[in-house]
């Protein structure tokens, strides 16, 4: 496979681009370093979303964060979906293209949710073949993101971090590290987040996601509907020292607040990144 490395996004904070903020962003571009969006929202043939994305892309570096490829599914890859993604990539030249370490379809039926794989040798071989297939079509490496899970497979012998590290080694993909997901899994299943984080290959981690969760009883749910929690900020400080400064995204999907709240959170991330940059000098 021959892939080219995309131009990097600066190691600063960006925000998730959501339609509710389009007008505000166009009228007064916020002081953030970059933006990320879900490519599936721009799979239409025309109309305002594509034109708005064009205008925003002219002002900000962009990352495309997919939610619909169903990388871990045992169904064949949806090549129509992949072609649409490639068309968007060619048009908008995003710095990163990412997907999730998950599956979401079987027997041609989609659940449009991020479902966990068991971390087995079979899953690893399957996932790596799929990542290879996607990277070959897209002609570039992708980043894969760790997800939250709300179940435990009985037979899942490979630790998640080792599973991701091996996928990186075999396919040349990178890692999008979602620290909120790490924290949510750690609380829900009594895990040590640092055990996972220290297993990841440092250079492979190219982007970090920060988001908020909601509590449902004893469970934490990754809703992307709250500010980043103090515990996750704490993990972020640790991660920026361990991995070095990385482009960092404030993700917010539900219960969407005014744009200024996202910008404030990005500023907070930038302050931590700034400390990390200063320490490196």
């Amino acid at each position: 496979m021959s892939v080219q490395h995309p131009a990097p996004i600066p190691a600063q904070a960006g925000i998730g681009l959501r339609a509710q903020h389009f007008r505000e962003i166009l009228d007064a571009p916020p002081p953030v370093a970059w933006m990320e969006t879900h490519p599936e929202n721009y799979f239409g043939n025309g109309g305002a979303p594509l034109r708005i994305l064009e205008r925003i892309r002219a002002q900000y570096p962009l990352s495309l964060h997919g939610v619909g490829l169903s990388l871990g599914s045992t169904d064949p890859i949806d090549h129509a979906h992949l072609r649409k993604l490639k068309t968007l990539i060619d048009r908008f030249e995003p710095a990163f293209v990412s997907e999730h370490l998950s599956w979401s379809s079987i027997g041609s039926r989609f659940f449009n949710d991020l479902l966990p794989l068991p971390y087995t040798t079979e899953s690893l071989e399957h996932l790596c073949a799929r990542i290879d297939e996607v990277q070959t079509v897209l002609k570039r490496p992708i980043l894969i993101e760790n997800i939250t899970r709300y179940l435990t497979w009985r037979d899942s012998p490979i630790p998640e971090g080792s599973f991701m590290a091996e996928a990186v080694k075999r396919t040349g993909c990178g890692i999008l590290l979602d620290l909120n997901n790490v924290y949510v899994n750690a609380v829900n299943f009594g895990l040590d987040p640092l055990e996972f984080l220290t297993t990841l290959p440092i250079e492979a981690v190219q982007e970090i996601h920060l988001a908020g969760f909601d509590r449902f009883g004893r469970m934490l749910i990754d809703t992307h509907g709250q500010p980043v929690y103090p515990e996750v900020w704490g993990l972020y400080e640790w991660a920026t020292h361990h991995f070095g400064p990385r482009p960092t995204l404030i993700e917010w999907d539900t219960n969407l607040p005014p744009l200024s709240v996202l910008v404030e959170q990005a500023t907070q991330a930038d302050a931590i990144l700034g400390g990390c940059h200063a320490a490196a000098l």
Binding site: N45, G46, G47, L151, T152
Partner: protein, 265 residues
């Protein structure tokens, strides 16, 4: 341990049909399996309900979250998602509402909203060039047909459903009463997109029938003849002016030759 494919099929069976045994045997035996599956089922259903709410915002406002949730759950059972791209997920909602014998107004409102949803992201088209208009004017009208932009949809209803749709738009006054007792009246609408915004424009019924026939490939001459038969003294020039003002013509075909504006990339 079942193979990955079997595991994914077992999970699907549990979420869709409630058949848990195959998948729970592959999950941790700590008593959490059924709770986990219930959580996933809830998250998945909520996602789809949210997609339908975004696709059918006026319908959601009209019936309220609770009633809408009932529709969404029924729809989820009968119309599974077949794509990682959720744009077309709600395509069958009008048919589903009809099947469950929902009030006809809701079916009609859903039809209108689906058209708006499609038009919102339909392919862009350039306006008709002056030389094409000239070609239309100078050609034999019996040989001229018109292609319409993909950003235009003709829809007919038995009630003026657009009044309810309009009253449910975010910019409508929240205090204005919505009259749901719509009179029985043939209603023709064109849904168009201009400057990125979707508009719903009511047309006089005869105008609608004529323009809709044009969009189906009828020639200019044939609709002119039909108009004069339907209404003596029909002002055909006014109709053509209406058509021009709508800015929905993508191309003109003169039999034995096509004159079409290429789509905008």
């Amino acid at each position: 341990m079942p193979r990955l494919c079997e595991l994914q099929q077992a999970f699907a069976e549990a979420v869709i049909e409630g058949k848990h045994s195959a998948v729970t045997s592959a999950m941790a035996a700590d008593g959490s399996a059924l709770r986990s599956l219930a959580l996933y089922r809830r998250l998945i259903r909520n996602n789809y309900a949210q997609v339908l709410k975004i696709t059918y915002p006026a319908l959601h406002r009209l019936v309220g979250a609770c009633y809408f949730g009932v529709f969404a759950r029924g729809y989820f059972k009968h119309f599974p998602s077949i794509s990682g791209d959720l744009f077309r997920y709600g395509h069958h909602l009008p048919a589903w509402l009809q099947r469950i014998e929902a009030p006809p107004l809701l079916v009609e409102l859903a039809r209108l909203e689906w058209a708006c949803h499609e038009v919102h992201q339909a392919a862009d088209s350039a306006p008709l060039a002056p030389e094409q208009l000239q070609a239309m004017v100078s050609a034999d009208p019996s040989r001229v047909t018109i292609q319409f932009h993909q950003t235009a949809r003709f829809l007919s209803f038995h009630v003026p459903v657009h009044r309810v749709w309009q009253a449910l738009q975010p910019d409508a006054s929240p205090d204005a009463a919505i009259d749901l007792q719509l009179p029985e009246e043939q209603t023709g609408l064109i849904v168009v997109r201009s400057d990125g915004k979707v508009r719903v424009i009511p047309l006089a019924w005869l105008d609608y029938r004529l323009l809709e026939a044009l969009s189906q490939g009828a020639s200019i001459a044939s609709i002119e003849r039909f108009a004069r038969e339907a209404e003596s003294g029909f002002d055909f020039t006014r109709l053509m002016t209406t058509l021009l003002n709508l800015q929905v013509m993508a191309g003109i075909s003169v039999k034995e030759g096509i004159c079409r504006t290429p789509p905008v990339s």
